[in-house]
């Protein structure tokens, strides 16, 4: 097709062809084309087949209001070709058709509509019962539009941005640009979002405005250049708002242009004020076959010509209800499109200049008429126009019907901020009932159509927003408001719904193939409001998200429920439309995911361990080394700790300083035990409970000075500890201070019978058992002056030195110990080896042996609870009350009868003789090489806790009758006297 190349409004560069491949044939569009405009220019009229009836669908609008032009591009399904810029070499395919969209073997579905009334699934296919599973599979295969391969990989670059601004203006048309300029004049930092690649809105492609001097496109260009050169205004084009949330949170997605370092950029901002100036679209006209390829909105036909240089047909008929429709008909006629007739449902109130223009061009004009039907299977062959009273009709041949009933404001962004919409009898629009603080609107969204009015309303909104943000400009805003009030209002568009009839092929929603008949059926079955009809018929749930049906659905409901009323006068009975929800337009998951940044903590010896072959796992916010051996039973790591010496990186444990006059009081509040009894140089083991008495953390506390303590927490709790202590002391006005030293404190647990031998080689300090015995702590230096705080603990049950080392020295200390230990068989061990070692000692790991509901007493840790402290600790009341309850799960040690049988962690204990046969849960169970037995810890009902009780373990692998025998045994299993850790 030859393009119109000399229009001043053109946005394609006809000197720069862009090749593409459509169904194995190469074609060519131009720089600036969308995929759909390029295809349209290449003669493509059927872009897709509809979801249910497989009806042919074509280009209807240009802003993505429906799924009509969704295609598969470069393997990506459901691409909205009408808004997607044509890229060099794009591979374009139809979807949801057998063969092609033009010749779809499923086209017969359209004739089966009688068997598919609204909600037909609910009342069919379930008798007999065996039918449904088969039918469901067929439905599943038939449903869905595009296809994506499981191994598809998205190749685009995505990132994200959180721009700061005082005002965000949504919509870069004349009203939005005026608002941005007015607010910037008042010193606001402004962000302007525009979904199209250029600013200008509806002015961009229009020549005439009633009584204006400069053509509208020139006014748009002038405003755009002023906006673009203002430092205080940041313009984001190709950026569609997708979400709006309370307190003015705005999200948007930018599609990257050729010069951008990204393909999609997710934007999120929270300006103080928002101006919504998204203008209006055309309200689709409902008639028979109103979605045939060849039927499109007048604005779509106009933009095809003025923006892309494409005349949409050879011969056109217009059926409109608004002056812009008349303007489009006249303009297109002047551009060379033969217009056979223009119908307008309004009998009066047209812009006389436009009517005169039509007459001058000898275009027959039918006031009080509308399109009633089109003929033609794969395109428009003729149109039946009828007078709105139904008395007369005329059939006209044409290949293009530009049809709309009037305007519908693009109110969706506003609705996200303002909540439910209500019918406004003046404009026939659905508009917000209330506006939250800081949210303003301007322009055509309010029903303003005269260019001057649109621009002034933008200024008013910009000044109102500035005043809201604290600028001294209320007077200026009011002056413009008065100026606007004095101007004549625009001419209202029609409120026409549809000719009476069964509406069998009158499509209300294109995506879901919902007709007026379906709406009527839904109402008849008791679904009286749009929100329920949406659920019953699926209207508005498709990719267009109500872009086609949003305005018409409530009007149809009102017309159905009030059949006697005049069809142009149903307001007052119009129900609210369905709720608008984000995203306002479909957004790639990749675009939402953005830069996909991941923040995880690494310990200071992460690399050192990786070099030794560590396999890391995420533990809370950290990477921790779980294994060092290739064989995952870690027996070598375990044996080495028992026989030689191992080193474990425990840097992830929480480490805190607490000091100040009331530090002890704070510790007393959160720890169950009595922290006033900590002896100098000694380590105190302690547990924290929640109000329920359930253990949430354990660690050690030492006193490092007057009113000065250090304590440790588990890895998972470190992040919560400061807020936990502050929370539980928030009413006390205590004077104490906390410092989280977790990340700064590297920890190496040097454990095993040769641990002292290794340590003595790197320090001059006396670390003999006499000078430094079990349960003590001591500060000293390693070679070269590395300061360490060393705690003698016994979590793994061997002689252990827990070395707390400043993080920056950790690597040096690790290397030093590694070297010093080479003669003693030193090797690192990971968390899984530690798990086995501590299990053999009967030491609990919270969350592994305990559940959410497990309290301190259930774990046999009553010795950590002090009943008579001055300060009642968190959880004390619950512990005292639960103490008397004999029905609680309690921790026991178990040993498998068959030492070759190792049930997995998480196995259950069962007894068929009781009402509730699951009597316990195995926390951890392992083959112990040191003991040559399989031992574990389990929570069991109190009646099964006595030593020697036989238990049946069921692991869930085989049949429930396949049990393994176990016995309750005393803990610790290994070195019960604790001699080895005291060596």
């Amino acid at each position: 097709m030859k393009r119109l190349t000399s229009l001043p409004t053109l946005r394609v560069d006809v000197g720069r062809p862009v090749p593409f491949v459509y169904k194995n044939q190469t074609g060519r569009g131009f720089k600036g084309d969308t995929i759909a405009t390029a295809l349209y220019a290449a003669g493509v009229r059927i872009f897709s087949r509809s979801l249910k009836y497989h009806r042919p669908r074509g280009l209807f609008s240009l802003d993505g209001e429906s799924s009509n032009t969704m295609m598969t591009v470069n393997g990506v399904p459901n691409v909205r070709t009408e808004t997607t810029l044509l890229a060099e070499g794009a591979m374009i395919r139809d979807q949801n058709a057998i063969f092609t969209a033009r010749n779809d073997l499923l086209g017969f579905m359209d004739r089966l509509d009688r068997f598919m009334p609204a909600g037909f699934y609910y009342e069919t296919m379930h008798k007999p019962a065996s039918l449904w599973p088969v039918a469901a599979k067929m439905v599943r295969k038939a449903a869905g539009l595009g296809r994506i391969a499981p191994d598809f990989r998205f190749s685009g670059a995505c990132d994200e941005m959180y721009p700061a601004a005082d005002l965000c203006v949504i919509g870069g048309g004349p009203a939005g640009m005026e608002a941005a300029l007015a607010a910037a004049d008042q010193g606001l930092r402004v962000i302007l979002l525009e979904a199209r690649p250029w600013l200008g809105g509806s002015f961009d492609y229009r020549e005439r405005g009633s009584g204006e001097d400069a053509p509208l496109y020139r006014q748009a260009a002038d405003l755009a250049s002023r906006v673009s050169t203002r430092a205080a205004i940041r313009v984001f084009t190709r950026t569609a708002m997708v979400g709006g949330y309370s307190d003015n949170l705005v999200t948007a997605v930018t599609e990257g242009g050729p010069d951008d370092p990204f393909d999609y950029r997710y934007l999120e901002m929270r300006p103080r004020a928002v101006v919504v100036a998204t203008g209006s679209r055309e309200r689709p006209l409902i008639f028979e076959n109103n979605e045939r390829p060849g039927v499109m909105l007048p604005d779509c036909a106009l933009r095809l010509a003025r923006t892309y240089g494409i005349l949409a047909g050879r011969e056109a008929v217009f059926s409109v209800g608004h002056d812009l429709g008349l303007e489009a008909a006249l303009d297109l006629s002047e551009l060379g499109l033969p217009v056979r007739a223009v119908a307008d449902v309004r009998t009066k109130g047209h812009d006389p200049a436009l009517v005169r223009g039509l007459a001058d061009r000898r275009i027959p004009f039918y006031p009080g008429w509308a399109a009633a039907a089109v003929e033609g299977k794969k395109g428009v062959k003729s149109v039946r126009l009828a007078s709105c009273d139904g008395g007369q009709y005329r059939i006209l041949t044409c290949d293009l019907l530009a049809a709309a009933a009037g305007h519908t404001p693009a109110v969706e962004p506003l609705s996200l901020f303002c909540g439910p919409l209500a019918y406004d009898g003046q404009t026939g629009y659905f508009l917000p009932r209330t506006y939250p603080a800081g949210v303003f609107a301007a322009g055509r969204i309010y029903g303003l159509e005269a260019p001057q009015n649109i621009r002034i309303s933008g200024r008013v909104a910009g000044l109102d927003a500035a005043a809201f943000c604290g600028a001294d400009c209320r007077g200026a805003a009011d002056a413009h408001r008065n100026e606007l009030a004095a101007l004549p209002m625009g001419r209202p568009a029609s409120k026409w719904v549809a000719f009476p009839g069964p509406w069998r092929k009158h499509f209300v929603d294109f995506d879901e193939d919902v007709t007026g008949k379906h709406i009527r059926q839904a109402v008849g079955r008791g679904f009286g409001v749009p929100e329920l009809i949406k659920r019953f018929t699926a209207a508005g749930t498709g990719p267009g998200q109500g872009g086609i049906s949003g305005h018409n659905l409530p009007l149809l409901v009102a017309a159905i429920k009030n059949p006697s009323r005049d069809r142009t006068d149903i307001h007052g009975t119009v129900p609210a439309p369905t709720t608008v929800r984000p995203p306002l337009r479909p957004v790639f998951l990749a675009a939402y995911a953005g830069s996909g940044r991941e923040m995880v903590k690494r310990t200071p010896v992460h690399d050192a361990q990786a070099w030794e072959g560590a396999v890391f796992r995420r533990v809370g916010v950290w990477h921790r080394a779980r294994y060092f051996s290739a064989d995952l039973d870690v027996s070598e790591e375990v044996d080495n700790v028992r026989t030689n010496v191992g080193m474990l990186d425990a840097s992830t444990l929480g480490c805190f300083r607490i000091f100040g006059p009331d530090a002890l009081s704070a510790l007393q509040r959160v720890y169950a035990g009595d922290m006033s009894k900590i002896k100098d140089g000694r380590v105190k083991y302690a547990a924290m409970c929640n109000h329920d008495g359930c253990v949430i953390d354990d660690g050690v506390v030492i006193r490092i000075g007057e009113n000065d303590y250090m304590f440790t927490t588990s890895t998972g709790r470190a992040g919560e500890t400061v807020e936990w202590i502050r929370y539980h002391t928030r009413f006390d006005n205590w004077d104490f201070h906390l410092v989280n030293q977790t990340d700064g404190t590297g920890v190496i647990n040097l454990a095993g019978p040769r641990a002292r031998d290794v340590l003595e080689r790197v320090t001059d300090a006396d670390v003999s058992n006499q000078a430094f015995s079990f349960g003590c702590w001591k500060d000293f230096s390693l070679s070269g002056g590395i300061p360490v705080r060393c705690l003698r603990l016994g979590f793994v049950g061997e002689l252990s030195f827990e070395l707390n080392i400043p993080a920056s020295y950790m690597q040096a200390a690790w290397d030093m110990l590694r070297k010093a230990g080479s003669g003693f068989g030193l090797r690192p061990f990971g968390v899984e080896a530690q798990n086995i070692l501590r299990l053999e000692k009967g030491h609990v790991i919270l969350g592994q042996e305990s559940e959410q509901r497990t309290n301190l007493l259930d774990l046999n840790m009553g010795f950590l609870f002090s009943r008579d402290k001055d300060i009642r600790p968190v959880g004390a009341d619950a512990l005292l009350q639960a103490e008397k309850d004999a029905g609680r799960l309690t921790l026991v040690g178990i040993r498998m009868t068959d030492s070759s049988c190792v049930p997995p962690d998480g196995s259950i204990l069962v007894d068929d003789q009781v009402v509730d046969p699951v009597i316990g849960y195995v926390g951890t169970i392992r083959k112990s090489r040191a003991l040559d037995a399989v031992v574990g810890m389990a929570l069991v009902e109190r009646a099964w806790t006595a030593e020697g009780t036989r238990l049946a373990v069921y692991d869930g692998g085989g049949e429930p009758s396949e049990r393994h025998d176990a016995t309750v045994v005393r803990m610790p299993f290994y070195d019960p006297e604790g001699i080895r850790m005291r060596m």
């Binding site: 296919m125 449903a143 079955r525 984000p582 957004v587 998951l589 899984e832 959410q852 998480g906 699951v918």
Partner: protein, 407 residues
């Protein structure tokens, strides 16, 4: 052939001055209770009061996922009975509830998760509910779109596979039960708000509505997220509940890609493909109470980040619609079903969190029995409110919950 009868009552039936039972809340649990009261206990002078439209709350805003692989022996049988009821209800209501038995896969991303799954699997199997552990390769065979790389945030170790589960069309359940109950004489009053519960000498006497007081000897409050607030404001009964918004969203419709319900605790995600071809996904709750049913920007982004990592092909798919509902969470993730305490004749059924849909059929049946006999069925006894003051949390969740200050 079609469209002969109403599904929803057109307009309201007359509001009578007395009923045998008044059910506050027109959601799934009360509609099911009403159905079973009429069907199994011949109690059909029953009113269901709904301040909006039936199915407007959680009934229409849930995952639509059904399963019976909970953790404890108190819970599993209830969900198992609910699962078995879908085909039965489809037949009895003569309404296609569209139970799609595709099976559920719970992805496991750590040794700890595998351990937790073992407990669920063993308990389920022990109680006669099918459930298996799959390794990573077997999991990927069932869901080819999954990312088996070790380099992702939470690498996949395997899955808990639960073949009896699947999805049910939630709106169909609402409409089917409403149609069935109304046919048996139950009065469903839409747009009728319960304003208060009248009591005398510790007994319920009636329910106040804008149209006057309805006299009744028994009232069941089961209004989803609103239940706890109603109990407090009508009767000063304080519940251990936090009401949170839970969100979900769908992608554009696709040809079949996911053959099972897939969920992941570590990523806070479930995803399943609906009969229409959309991938329905969700699971997140912002951890603070509120009664809005609005979605958040943070969540849709989080969901995309998670899914793109878990199933990379979805990066090229678009989200098109999101919504939210209310989840009334308890400290132990198990519901509260109780009655006659502290007010004789007042029953409550709440705290379902995000499990309310999958359980509604069986719960309705037991609550009907409770109301009809005045005696708590054994199955419901463990769910009494008193368990909280007795420090007997249920054990449905192994980990601490993040929406109460108590952790």
């Amino acid at each position: 052939m079609f469209g002969a009868k109403h599904i929803l009552p057109k307009g309201n039936p007359p509001l009578e001055s007395a009923y045998d039972a008044v059910l506050i809340g027109g959601g799934l649990h009360n509609l099911a209770t009403a159905w079973f009261l009429a069907k199994e206990h011949n109690m059909n002078r029953v009113a269901v009061l709904e301040k909006n439209y039936i199915g407007y709350g959680g009934a229409g805003r849930n995952t639509a996922i059904v399963r019976a692989n909970q953790r404890t022996q108190k819970n599993i049988p209830l969900y198992k009975e609910a699962l078995d009821l879908w085909p039965v209800l489809t037949r009895e209501l003569d309404f296609n509830l569209m139970f799609y038995n595709c099976g559920n896969l719970n992805l496991l991303h750590s040794e700890a998760a595998v351990k937790a799954a073992r407990t669920n699997i063993a308990t389920a199997k022990f109680l006669g509910v099918e459930s298996h552990l799959l390794d990573a390769a077997e999991t990927a065979k069932r869901v080819p779109a999954l990312n088996l790389s070790q380099k992702i945030t939470h690498p996949i170790h395997g899955a808990m596979y639960h073949p009896p589960g699947g999805i049910v069309r939630h709106d169909a359940v609402v409409w089917g039960l409403a149609k069935g109950a109304a046919e048996k004489g139950v009065h469903i009053h839409q747009q009728t708000e319960a304003l208060g519960i009248a009591t005398k000498n510790g007994r319920v006497t009636g329910v106040k509505t804008p149209a006057g007081t309805i006299y009744t000897p028994r009232v069941l409050v089961s209004a989803g997220g609103y239940t706890a607030g109603l109990l407090y404001h009508m009767l000063k009964i304080k519940m251990p509940i936090s009401v949170l918004t839970i969100q979900a969203m769908v992608t554009q419709p696709l040809k079949p890609l996911l053959d099972h319900v897939v969920s992941s605790g570590a990523y806070h995600v479930y995803a399943n493909q609906t009969l229409k071809g959309e991938i329905a996904t969700g699971a997140h709750m912002d951890p603070w109470p509120n009664y809005t049913t609005q979605t958040t920007a943070g969540y849709i982004k989080h969901q995309a980040e998670a899914l793109v990592e878990l199933m990379p092909c979805l990066a090229g798919v678009k989200f098109m619609r999101s919504w939210a509902g209310l989840a009334d969470m308890t400290p132990d993730m198990a519901p509260i079903m109780d009655g006659n305490d502290p007010v004789e004749g007042v029953y409550m059924n709440c705290g379902w969190g995000y499990f309310g849909f999958k359980s509604c059929s069986a719960t309705g049946r037991y609550m009907a029995r409770f109301l009809a006999t005045g005696k708590c069925p054994d199955r419901l006894k463990p769910f009494a409110l008193a368990r909280f003051k007795n420090h007997r949390l249920m054990g449905e969740t192994a980990a601490l919950v993040n929406y109460t200050p108590d952790n």
